[in-house]
């Protein structure tokens, strides 16, 4: 069995690493600066011993005794009066159900009806619909490494990872517009005619000219997308949203403008952007690491950890002090489920953290259940919060 990284590091510190294992460890260290620094820090004897000392200071035995007490309290609580009442009520309900079933179906198989059927809801896949100028719809789901001829001269290439690229002949200068519509539960990446890369999040729509002409490169966005704009000083790139425009030269940023969220947020990773909205006296400029939030005709600019807002393009959801509703809306778009909050008190909950995307939703819900006091129940395509 292949040794895990911590075993390799320990063996290295003991000077017991085989040649092959050294190669594996070296490769891991070269992956990035953090890895290299970790191993170097651990080579420092003082660091190691301070670590061991800290490690030894945690009193496992004492903590276990405390935990046993708390575990017992949990059991005691279960036997409280209200629980008892619920149990009686449930028993009564089961009797009633059995009675009704008994009436309808006098045979013996009626009992199983109350059993919950486990439902697995799978996360969104890469699928989208392309709407052509003439209104024709082209489903893009599941097509990889193919070329599609659209109209007379335009050729669409879908590469092996399912991304969309335009290949145009010099003659196709007529500005025709395409709309890429990514459904709930979907996600798509496309490269525009000028080389700009766009990662579309689920439930989003982008309208763009097949070929950019004129002074500015304009696209229209509903929903969320991450843009890596190809640099072109002469032709600014403009993202038009419901009530705000983002104007850029060449840069990476994320725009979130969902119809069901009150704010339009632009998060700048690198480069420079200008935000313009109706009612704004002058355009607001963002520097890298800044986020412009447009709500109720007001623009707020704040410093953010951009990773939190762009991690969705890298298979992770990140949340920083977000309300339960916002978190659930984002999960709903990706997993294509609806959430129903039956306990309004839960809306006050604030979340931070990151969750892997490509796991089925039950794992995500489990992580959330574990780390909060929320409990979920999955019924068909609806997740209920009690």
């Amino acid at each position: 069995m292949q040794k895990e990284i911590h075993e390799l590091i320990t063996a290295y510190l003991r000077n017991e690493l085989s040649g092959k294992e050294s190669d594996v460890l070296r490769e891991w260290m070269e992956e990035n600066e953090n890895h290299r620094r970790l191993v170097e820090e651990l080579r420092d004897k003082k660091v190691v011993w301070d670590d061991v000392r800290l490690f030894a200071s945690f009193d496992t035995g004492k903590r276990w005794k405390q935990l046993v007490v708390e575990m017992g309290q949990q059991k005691a609580k279960k036997r409280s009066l209200s629980r008892k009442l619920v149990a009686y009520a449930a028993a009564a309900a089961v009797l009633l159900l059995a009675g009704i079933i008994g009436l309808l179906q006098p045979k013996e198989d009626g009992v199983k009806i109350a059993e919950a059927v486990p439902v697995t809801i799978h996360p969104g896949e890469t699928r989208a619909v392309l709407m052509l100028e003439d209104g024709n719809l082209l489903p893009l789901m599941g097509m990889k490494d193919t070329t599609i001829v659209v109209g007379e001269r335009e050729r669409l290439v879908i590469d092996e990872s399912g991304n969309l690229k335009y290949l145009l002949t010099e003659n196709s200068r007529v500005p025709s517009f395409h709309t890429l519509r990514v459904p709930r539960g979907g996600e798509y990446k496309l490269m525009l005619d000028d080389g700009t890369e766009v990662w579309m999040n689920s439930a989003s729509e982008l309208r763009y000219p097949v070929h950019f002409t004129g002074d500015t490169r304009r696209v229209e966005l509903v929903g969320e997308a991450y843009f890596q704009v190809a640099h072109d000083q002469e032709h600014p790139f403009v993202v038009v949203t419901r009530d705000m425009d983002v104007r850029v030269l060449g840069t990476s940023f994320n725009v979130s403008a969902y119809p069901d969220e009150s704010a339009v947020t632009t998060t700048l990773v690198e480069g420079r952007v200008e935000l313009n909205a109706e009612g704004l006296e002058q355009a607001v400029r963002l520097s890298p690491g800044e986020q412009g939030v447009w709500t109720n005709h007001r623009m707020d600019v704040r410093q953010v950890n951009t990773k939190l807002y762009t991690s969705w393009i890298k298979d992770r959801f990140s949340f920083e002090s977000e309300g339960l509703e916002t978190v659930l809306r984002r999960l709903a778009r990706w997993y294509n489920v609806d959430f129903r909050i039956e306990n309004p008190g839960m809306k006050e909950k604030i979340f931070s953290g990151t969750i892997p995307k490509y796991e089925d939703i039950s794992k995500v819900l489990k992580i959330m259940e574990m780390t909060t006091n929320i409990s979920f129940e999955v019924k068909d395509d609806v997740v209920i919060i009690r």
Binding site: E4, I5, H6, E7, I9, T10, L13, R14, N15, E16, N32, N34, H35, L38, L42, K45, K46, V48, W49, D51, V52, R53, L54, F55, A56, S57, F58, T60, R63, W64, Q66, L67, V68, E70, M71, Q74, N305, K307, R316, E320, S321, I350, F351, S352, G353, T354, K366, I367, E369, M370, T371
Partner: protein, 193 residues
Amino acid sequence: MMNIDIQSAEFIQCLERGEQDAFQRVFEMYHKPLCFFATRIVRDDSEAEDIVQEVFLSLWKMNRSGFPNLKTVKTFLYNSVQHRCLNYLRDLEIRDRNYKNLHREELDEDYFLCQQIRAEVVAELFSAIDELPEKCKDIFRRSYVDGQEDKKIAEELDISLNTIKTQKQRAKSYLRTRLGDLFVYVGIFFPGL
């Protein structure tokens, strides 16, 4: 219970059924590494211990079915601790507007991964000390971890100074075989060893 292999499917079943012995073994295995891990994030060891305690309590309360093996339990524990640590840091920030988490930028996935690896490396080193015979370990701990003087240890344990010397000698030769080159680390910081 105690002779079931902790890596086996049988053990996972015991854990799933809610057998306290099985749960205790998981606790004993991951308590210190998780506390260490949490301290590396929140930089406060007593908060870290409380966070780990909450996570174990919720593991006990939750439905533990669906863990195919011990590794997934471990991943789950680390993820939960990490999540709660982040919540804790956020609450600090909300309560105290002047509080600035200086290490914020480095709190990314890779940082957490590195801290988990670090906790596991330290656990490995610590386990060598932990394997010492009970009496020997107690003396080692008092002397080298808590920094007590031999005389005080002799008084508290009601044993002779000579016994302490012998026990320390035993610890020393054991650690030398068990830790290989790493023993040098221990030796350098404890010249008396």
